[in-house]
Each structure stands twice: as structure tokens, then as C-alpha cells.
Amino acid sequence: MGIINYAPKILDPIPGGKYVVNLVDYVVNWARANSIWPLTYGTSCCAIEMMSSSMARYDIARFGSEVFRASPRQADLFILAGTITRRMAPAIQMLWEQIPGPKYAIAMGACTISGGPFIYDNYAVVRGAQNLIPVDVFVPGCPPRPEALFHGLLTLREKILKETCRHPWHVGRPKDVSTMDRYREAAKTWAALEEMKDEEMAEARAKFKEEHPDYKSSFKPIRIKKEELPEVPRTPTHKGGLTQSELFAKLHAKFPKVSVHTHSDSPIEEVVAQIPADHPLEVIVDFEDYLPMVEFLKNDPEFKMDFLIDETAIDYDDHFDLVTMLRSMEIGHKLFLCVQLKKDFAIAEEARPTSLLASVPTISNLYPGAEVKEREIYDMFGINFEGHPDQRRIFLDKDFVGYPLRKDFTHPQMIRRPV
């Protein structure tokens, strides 16, 4: 890389040339090690700590690294701050390719070292930046303090200073650690060791048992005393709008089929009356009633539910629950509608995980905010929204197989949680 790497070949044969090479080498290395310009790149929490480290309190400028370049072509250092998802991975590789050499990478935080909090049961996160690009320095922490990042920077500096033009910088290779399950590996190694130890110790143990037939350990673990704390009752408060009973009564008058979640046999009115004041009322709506009810709730002057808090779904064995959370801005009450969508079991069992299993009319013409929420449900559960203007996957790639929030979802890269 660069002219300087040819210097030894040309200058070494000349008497005294070695010293010239060494001198140039020293100067260039000194410059490289002390002028590290990072790339402005950050995805999540660690990016904030990276920003903090360049701010007045910690001031990365003391190291000469405050020149955060937005364009990768002018950067030397790639601080991988934040979780790397599979969708982001190609972008990261491209950024790395665009940085001119000599270039270095710091993996900041647990996510970029190993996947961090997202190792197990996760289909979206790349377990460690090493899988994508060669990483020079690892800074553990979640997120690491700015001081820890500086320590990483100094570690990198030490590493750069060791380079010479006789052992020049070269692009490393990424290392595949994506399927590494540290927990199970450690357990496995230990189990093997234990087996050996058991064999070795069998005699000694038997002997010990003979010698001390009623041996009792003197070790008594001391439990930490917990502070004595009082039990405090919770006092739910209700504010704004109609109470749950009123809401239910009014709704029941218009749509007689509504009910609520209950496991007791007592009449629905009593169940509704027993709901604590700060729990919003969640009614089970018939599939046919869903769209008319949402329309009614939005336009009725007594309800005026003009604000869509959220829309989400829950996967059960044979049906999905589609929960629509509504709120009235003016009056202040909330109402959750729960529609049960029967899964379409006419689809062949092999095709079920990859096909849309239920269908429901969209409410995005009533609430424009529902558009993205319905796309999310489509993406995560595979529920079709009839009449949706732009039904695409929202969080996952368009060629992603399966719908992750279904209970039977499997993914080749997903590792089950061991404990």
C-alpha cells in the first residue's frame, strides 16, 4: 500500500539507506498513529457514547480525532458503534470497502463484539462485526464509557506504532463467529473436563468417604440480609372521559356482539365493572363488526376516538388477535378493540409459515397513522390487510422468509436460549 512500502526494496541496498527507511518509517507511523480520523457512523446506544466522547466533557480532539468525517473516503477509523443487523450488514461492508487504507476498525460495545444482548432467539442481528470486516480493537461495555473508548483508541495507537514498512499494514480478513454459542461451548468443554476429573477423582472420593463417613462441611454460605420493606397498595386513578362500564354499555347497545376477556362465569357487565380504573377497556369484536365499529368510534360524538395509539397483533395456535388501541384526544378515554382472526388452515401445512394466514380490512383510510403499523403487522405476523395502499415489508428485507413474531417461526441463524 503506497510508495513507502517499496522504500526498503530501493533504499536498503544503498549504504545508510536502512537508516533513512527507518526514519521515514518512524515519521509516517507517528503520523498515522496520532491522526486517526473516525467515520461518522452510529446506529444505536453506543453512537451516543461516541458522540459524548467527542463533546466538551471528554473531548476526543485531544487525540486529534475530532475530525469526524461524514464521507468514508476521508476516514481512517471505523468505529462500529451500535448493533449491526442483517439488513445493515451490506452497507457496513460497503463503507469499509470505501475507506482508503491503511484503515482500522474498533468494535465498540457488546453488540459489535458478539451480538451483545441480542445473541439468543434473534433472527435480525449479526453476531459480531468480525463476521463482516476485520476488527482491530474490541471495547466491551454496553455501552462503553467514553474513557473506555479512549482506552480503545490508545490500544489501537499502540498497535499502529508496531507497524513498519517491513511489516506493513494489510487488510485483514473477517472471521466467522456468527454461529458461536459461547455458553454452550463453555458448558461442553467443562462437561468433558468433568468426566475426566470424575474418573481421576473416583478413587480419592471413595477413600475420602471411607475415612470421613459422616463428613459435614464447615462452609455455610451467608445470605445477604434484605432491607425490611413495607407492602404498599396500589391506588388506580381514572381520569378523563367515560368509565369502562359506560363505554361498554354504549358500545353494547350499538354492537350487541361485543364482549371482553374473562375466565369467570359472571355476567360481562360485572366483569367490566371489576376492571381497575387505570386498565383500559379491551373489547372483543366480531370480525364483521370491526370496520363499522372503528368508523363509528371515530365519528360518533360521544366517543370521538380520533387518535390511534397503536395497532398490534398476538399469535395464538389457531388465531391471531388484532388489537387496535384508540383514544379520544378531546374527551380522553381509551378503548382497545380485539379482533380474533381465524387462521386459514386450508393452506397446506408446509406452506403455512411462509404464507399469509389471515386477512382483515385496513383502517389506514380512517387513520393515516395506521399505515405503517399495519405494514409492521404484515411484516411480523403475515396478516393481509385488504385495501392497504402500500403493503410491503417494513423492517425486514423483502426476500426474508417467514414471519418472525409467529410462535412457530424458525430461522437458520437463530440460536435458542440455553437457560
Binding site: 503520523a31 491522526s35 464521507s71 473516503r73 476521508q74 482508503p100 487504507g101
Partner: protein
């Protein structure tokens, strides 16, 4: 043969010594023409070296200064660890950039891509040759100084346009187009202000302009004409900031919007050239401001002989650079204080505010000259 005069002490020295040295040559070779040509060439080389030294030497100092000034505005320390208070930081940066890998993006027009940073560098170098640093210290004392500066300054935009266009990147192109529109617009008010200076000094020669500010502080153009001079100075300050593409008028770079504008795709040495050109332009523009408004190399005499004697003992070049660095500091404070206007607002500002005020200023200046005789 016409040999342009080079009026600096070294020039005189060279002209004096070349004939003396040529006396040692064989007689067939001795001629006056040859002497003057050699003297001219030697002078030219010395001048080029001097201009390069001043410009390139000042760039790292300025970058260091900028980093320190911005750090102190922002309640932090800035470079601290390399050398005493980080003094060697920018030198390390420059060395590092020289040894970085250089490549052009795919689809780029390679020739234009590498030519652009050179073109950007030319303009400030040429302006630096015209600035009188001291009574006898001027590389090229041309009589059409101001028109030449205006002409040369317009050259810089070409490099930026070329760089942005040849990068084959939409952000670069947007940045370049913004920069083109901006620099061409602000060129007008820039020229107008210089015209105002020409009007009150009665000359386009920079040395004459400086000399006509001789005397006390009150004779500097910024104070010579009450209020108008100061307004002119502020207008010059604004339009030269825009000319240099410096924040708050750095819409061509606009890191938050265009990730770097026209130099998004540049790396290594070509990027270093853009980077240096920005600071060299800062020096030349500050020098121009000093020459035109702050009395050039004249000491800030206050009219009290006891003090003035001491002030004038300091060589003019020191005063000159003191003023230049004060100007640079002003540019930096402005840069680190203000936010960036939008591209259309920038144009509005030029055409709806700066230009009318400039015209009014020219008229008022003319009226003042006529009235005061």
C-alpha cells in the same frame, strides 16, 4: 526585452549581484540581456518559493488555530497530546494524508477528478503574489491589482464545479452546483466592495491602496470615511466568507445535508489539497481585507508621537500578519457561532440585501468624495 519589476529587497539584491557574478564567466557569454534574464528567473524562483512557503506554511498553523479556537468556544481543550498543547497535530494529519491510499470512484472522469484540486489551489496562490506584505515586500506589484484579484478569485469555482461533476456522485454534484451559484453571485458584491475601495483610494494598485492609508489609525479605510467604511468592511467580510465557502456559508460542503458536498468522493492527497486550499484562501482573503481596510502593513498609530515611535519601530510585516491573524480569528469566531442558511436564502440575501446595500454604499461613497473634495 521587458522584464517586470520585482520590488522587494531580495529582488534588488539579486539584480545587484547577478552582474557581479557573471563577471566571472567567460567573456563570450557575458551580456546584459542574459544578466537580466537570469536575475528575473532567480527572482521568480525565489518568489514562487516565498509564496508557497507563506501559503503552505500558514495552512497547518491555521488548521491548528481553528481547532483550538473552536475548542475554546465550545468549552473544551482541542488537540493536546501531540507536542506542546497539540502543536504537531496538523503536521501529523498532513503527513498521514500524504501517505493514504488514493483512488477515484468508479465512473469518475479521472483527469478532471485529479485536476480539480489543483485548480482550486491556483487561485489563492495567485492572489498571494499580489499582496504587499511590507513597504518593499511584494512579489508582483501590478498596477491592475484589484481587477486581477477579481478575475483570479473567480477561478476557484471552476475547480469546485469540476470536482463535484467529475465525482459521479449526486451529493457531489448538488454541492458543486450550489457552490457554483453561490460563488458567482457573491463575486458581484465582492467586486463591488473592492470597487468602493478603489474609488476612495483612487488606484487599483494594492501598494498604492495601502500607502494611501498611511498615517494614524483614523486614516485606515475602515475609519477614514465615517460609517461607510465600516459598513463596507462588514460587507466585504460577509461576501468574502461566502467566496471562501466557509461556514456559515458552507452550503456547498454542508456536512449535515450533503455529507461533504463537492469533496465527498475525494481522499488522500487530493482531499488534502481541497482542505489546504480552504485555509490558504482564508489567508489571502484576510490579507486582502487587511490591505483594503485595515491599513495593510501600517502600524496602528494613534497620533501621539511618544507611542507612535514605538509602534513604528516594529516592522511592517509583523503588523501585517498581526492584522491578518486578527481577521482570521474573526472568520473563525463567525464560523463557530452561526448556523447555515438555506441555499435559496443565501441567494435571496445576496440579490435582495447585499447587492442593493452595495450599490447604495457606492453611491454614498461617491457623494462623500465629491462633498469632501
Amino acid at each position: 526585452m521587458y522584464v517586470p519589476s520585482v520590488t522587494h529587497p531580495i529582488g534588488d539584491f539579486v539584480r545587484e549581484w547577478v552582474p557581479k557574478l557573471s563577471a566571472y564567466l567567460p567573456e563570450q557569454l557575458q551580456s546584459q540581456t542574459l544578466d537580466s534574464i537570469v536575475a528575473f528567473l532567480v527572482n521568480a524562483v525565489i518568489c514562487i518559493i516565498a509564496v508557497c512557503a507563506v501559503n503552505i506554511g500558514s495552512a497547518p498553523i491555521l488548521i491548528y488555530m481553528e481547532r483550538k479556537v473552536c475548542a475554546h468556544v465550545q468549552c473544551r481543550l482541542g488537540p493536546m497530546r501531540l507536542g506542546w498543547h497539540g502543536t504537531l497535530q496538523t503536521i501529523a494529519d498532513v503527513i498521514k494524508m500524504l501517505f493514504k491510499e488514493v483512488y477515484a470512484p468508479s465512473g469518475a472522469d479521472k483527469l478532471m477528478f485529479y485536476l480539480a484540486p489543483l485548480i482550486v489551489l491556483i487561485a489563492p496562490f495567485m492572489v498571494a503574489a499580489l499582496i504587499p506584505f511590507d513597504k518593499n515586500l511584494v512579489v508582483s506589484d501590478v498596477s491592475m491589482g484589484i481587477p486581477l484579484i477579481i478575475a483570479v478569485n473567480g477561478f476557484g469555482v471552476l475547480g469546485i464545479l469540476l470536482g463535484g461533476w467529475s465525482s459521479n456522485n449526486k451529493y457531489s454534484l448538488l454541492g458543486a452546483l450550489r457552490s457554483g451559484a453561490q460563488m458567482i453571485s457573491y463575486e458581484i458584491s465582492f467586486a463591488m466592495i473592492l470597487l468602493f475601495v478603489v474609488m476612495i483610494s483612487g488606484s487599483t494598485n494594492l501598494m498604492t491602496i495601502t500607502q494611501s492609508q498611511a498615517g494614524t489609525i483614523a486614516d485606515w479605510f475602515i475609519f477614514k470615511i465615517p460609517v461607510l467604511g465600516f459598513i463596507g468592511f462588514i460587507l466585504f467580510f460577509i461576501s468574502s466568507t461566502a467566496e471562501m465557502n466557509r461556514a456559515p456559508f458552507d452550503i456547498a460542503e454542508a456536512e449535515q445535508e450533503l455529507t461533504g458536498g463537492y469533496h465527498t468522493e475525494y481522499n488522500g492527497t487530493p482531499f488534502a489539497m481541497f482542505y489546504l486550499a480552504e485555509y490558504i484562501a482564508l489567508v489571502t482573503n484576510s490579507a486582502l481585507a487587511t490591505t483594503c481596510f485595515l491599513g495593510g502593513f501600517h502600524a496602528p498609530c494613534i497620533g501621539v508621537a511618544a507611542v507612535d515611535n514605538y509602534l513604528t519601530m516594529v516592522p511592517g510585516v509583523v503588523w501585517f500578519f498581526a492584522k491578518v491573524f486578527f481577521m482570521i480569528w474573526c472568520y473563525m469566531m463567525v464560523r463557530w457561532t452561526f448556523v447555515r442558511p438555506r441555499v435559496d436564502q443565501l441567494m435571496d440575501f445576496e440579490w435582495k440585501f447585499l447587492l442593493p446595500v452595495n450599490l447604495l454604499l457606492l453611491g454614498a461613497g461617491a457623494a462623500y468624495i465629491v462633498i469632501s473634495g
